[in-house]
Symmetry: C2
Subunit: 516 residues, 2 copies
């Protein structure tokens, strides 16, 4: 730009106008630039990805955590972050901070650097901690490719196989690559960055409650972004605004003190398996809807929310085919709606023996384990209480966390044991789609990809992050980046290079988008 | 008796009158004689009981069978029986016959000489095949007693511990002892005797169908008496007029092809454990009554039958206490009535995992194994068909003896696998209480014991004998003799000497009672 104004006042006015009008635009990149930069830095970051994946990261082994911490310190300091270890009585978390400008909002980024333990024998490579580059063949299998073949170009269909290739080391490298790309364009992130890397997410984030208690101030922020998990099955850019929580219940219905001969006692000693079946079936209807009064109280899917849910491009036929079912439960009008309601699921039940082991008995007890997936509108304690009240209404004598006494057995006809551990209950979390955080991320993803974004109001699963989000009380949104078929938690975990490149592009879009 | 008539005609008339009036009486013994003889021959037969119990009798071991056969040949030949081995492709049965007088009716006696396999480590004696004499102590335990202590008297509370002490070797020795007692009184049995001793009853009487096919003529008789099993809990003299049969069904309800994450699929993928619970609970009501239409068809408990059933001195409070239940099912007005109806019992069910192994899944399938106890009025094939029709009426797509295909999974919402093996179905058998056989045994037991007889119309359990009885088509009644607390099939099996003595008395009563 050529300067035509000379006086200091004029200069000041021009500077003011320039800063006023273009602070965002100055930060933004063209669609073309996003594409070029993400391609360039995807390729450029491969050596760092490879190096990071080569460091074993089983959180159960302290040395693994330590080695990853060292790598992270170097990597983040290189990108002008100040770093800090956040120790706990369990493992040590990693913290990094980069202040762009004090007046800008602060975004807390959460990722994790540990991975699921490995069983090397089940992998199609010598060592899950020695990343291998592969390309798909026509028959659906993969063939190992020399790393040299990607010196100049990174084919989308190639994949890197290693533990944590997707969950959750590659997002960390994508994040660093996006910062490098940004720097090469002479830009700064549009907000201050705080980064917390969980050392043992796969072990239930055991260290995080203590870390939050001890270092809560460090972690305070205006918004929180979680880079973890796979994008929507449709491969659309994806935002996840919350996750369901979980509560567990185990029910034990008692029959005769010991198994009784089904000839001598069939028709006489009440069968606990039948009673449990009757109890369980009293809780839900044929369509899988919970019939316990009040179970769905407080959930109000407005037409606006329903519209957003219906916009998620779920392919029902594909889901059915993948899962192997002809029909779905009838809890919601579609998959996304179904996830907005708490579930009451039989995880398993057991009584006596079946198959070749079957014995001609009236069993002595029947056990069922249930999980309730919680949504933000329904408090877990309340739902557990509703289930308990329902059981009592069926005429059961209910005891908690113990077996019945001899006297109770001879006094009460229908006896049930109710086990529920409140300490193992995780709350749901949910950030409104139309919140500042939600709108910022939605528009940045839509802009960078020039494509509609799949907005998942509530993911069905329950994640340790929920505790983190609820405790810190920062509006948080998950921005998943990796391919859905990444074999997360399983042998042959991988990251598809097309998704790796797109992930860098997504983060670039987020970094360059101011929060209004 | 002093003779006062001299002429041949007078002598003939007197002889005729004497024979006319006293043919039964001549055979009968006084109450006192029954008591004295049974005491004497209980004591006298102990060495033979000891010797017989010392011969191992696991039917899985051919040598065991052979050794017992040799013992039996000698023992029965000594009592003027002609004996015969009845071989089969499985084991060899034992047959013995004693013709008293051609014109008399013939009674076929069934017992078995094999025992359940043993695990010697679980017994309170060195060798389950080395009988040990014990007496009870005040604390309920038993103390070994030298056999010499019973040279002159046999205390009722003493017990002999050994495999088959009760099931079913002691009835064989009681039978022989009764014959010896009869002989000592100068009497003959009131009927011709045929005896069949099963070599492998504890293995499901595998050889008997073949034996019946091959040697059916040998086994023909007018009445059949089975000496096996314990007397009624009340220790009353007991007759059992039949046993329930059995049919098995296994049900498998299918869910997703493999277990699915309960977060992502709770409320969406139908849960097979819930569906199976709903299906099972649709079959029976709260009181345990089957609600499938037609299940109880054909059963008509007349006031007369109900009276006999009600007369059995079952101690409900005692049963409840022993089993550990507060209430019973509501199928019949009492225990005996409950046994007159077919049962539909859940032997076991299984889906997913419970307890510490529980996983957060929607399980892929749920399995339940059922048994139906059959009564004479209800054909097993018909009942199995009713269950199948009921399942179809619940909207299930039913497949038999196989898993669903991929196409079936994607086409049918509710899929169930129905397994039923008709070859493993045993029929019930039942001899009318007021039949000739029934009346003969009832009056002989009542007479010898001077006590009311517990008449069990149908025992709940299913026994291999049923096949035998149905095939031979001879009215059959079980005359159980041993103590109910004999630990049958378990370690520390025993026979109580009071029951042993009373058993000999019962058989003496039967032997001396003509069949009118």
């Amino acid at each position: 730009m050529h300067m035509v104004f000379k006086s200091p006042i004029r200069v000041a006015i021009v500077l003011f106008l320039w800063l006023y009008c273009f602070p965002l635009k100055s930060q933004k990149l063209s669609t073309n630039q996003y594409e070029t930069l993400s391609r360039e830095y995807a390729l450029a970051s491969i050596p760092e990805l490879r190096a990071f994946l080569s460091i074993p990261n089983n959180a159960l082994i302290e040395e693994h955590v330590e080695n990853n911490l060292r790598f992270l310190e170097l990597a983040f300091e290189k990108r002008r972050f100040s770093t800090q270890r956040l120790p706990s009585t369990s493992r040590t978390a990693f913290f990094a901070e980069r202040i762009v400008q004090k007046s800008l909002p602060t975004v807390l980024v959460y990722m994790h650097f540990d991975g699921q333990p490995v069983d090397a024998r089940q992998w199609n490579q010598a060592d899950p901690y020695q990343p291998v580059l592969k390309r798909p063949l026509a028959d659906g299998s993969y063939e190992t490719v020399d790393w040299q073949t990607i010196t100049n170009t990174l084919p989308d269909e190639y994949r890197v196989f290693a533990r944590s290739a997707s969950d959750d080391k590659s997002p960390i490298i994508m994040f660093l690559a996006a910062l490098d790309a940004l720097q090469s364009a002479g830009l700064e992130p549009s907000f201050n960055l705080r980064v917390i890397l969980d050392p043992e997410e796969e072990q239930g984030s055991k260290s995080m409650p203590e870390v939050i208690d001890q270092f809560g101030d460090l972690l305070s922020a205006d918004h929180m972004v979680i880079f973890d998990g796979p994008v929507h099955d449709s491969n659309s850019p994806t935002l996840v605004f919350g996750c369901r929580g979980i509560a567990g219940i185990e029910l034990t219905v008692y029959g005769p003190r010991t198994p009784q001969h089904s000839g001598h006692f069939g028709n006489y000693a009440p069968n606990p398996a039948l009673r449990l079946a009757q109890l369980l079936s009293s809780m839900k209807d044929e369509g899988g809807k919970v019939t316990i009064p009040g179970f769905y109280d407080g959930i109000d899917l407005t037409p606006e929310i329903k519209e957003i849910l219906a916009a998620v491009p779920d392919d029902v036929a594909q889901i059915k085919k993948r899962v192997g079912i002809a029909e779905t439960d009838k809890v919601g009008a579609n998959y996304q709606e179904a996830m907005q309601y708490p579930s009451l699921n039989i995880r398993g039940f057991r009584s006596g023996w079946v198959g070749a082991e079957a014995r001609t008995i009236v069993p002595e007890k029947a056990v069922a384990t249930l999980d309730i997936r919680l949504v933000p509108e329904s408090d877990g304690t309340r739902l557990v209480k509703l289930v308990k009240e329902h059981i009592l209404a069926q005429g059961y004598y209910l005891i908690e966390d113990r077996d019945p006494s001899e006297e109770e057995r001879l006094t009460h006809d229908k006896i049930i044991r109710f086990d529920h551990d409140p300490s193992e209950m995780w709350k749901a979390f949910n950030t409104p789609i139309h919140s500042k955080t939600g709108e910022w991320l939605y528009h940045s993803l839509k802009n960078v990809h020039q494509q509609e974004v799949a907005r998942i109001r509530l993911a069905g699963g329950s994640v340790p992050i929920a505790f983190f989000v609820n405790k810190l009380d920062i509006p948080a949104v998950l921005v998943p980046l990796v391919n859905p078929d990444n074999n997360q938690h399983s042998p042959n975990e991988n990251i598809r290079m097309g998704h790796y490149r797109n992930g860098i592009k997504t983060i670039l879009g987020v970094m360059t988008s101011s929060i209004e």
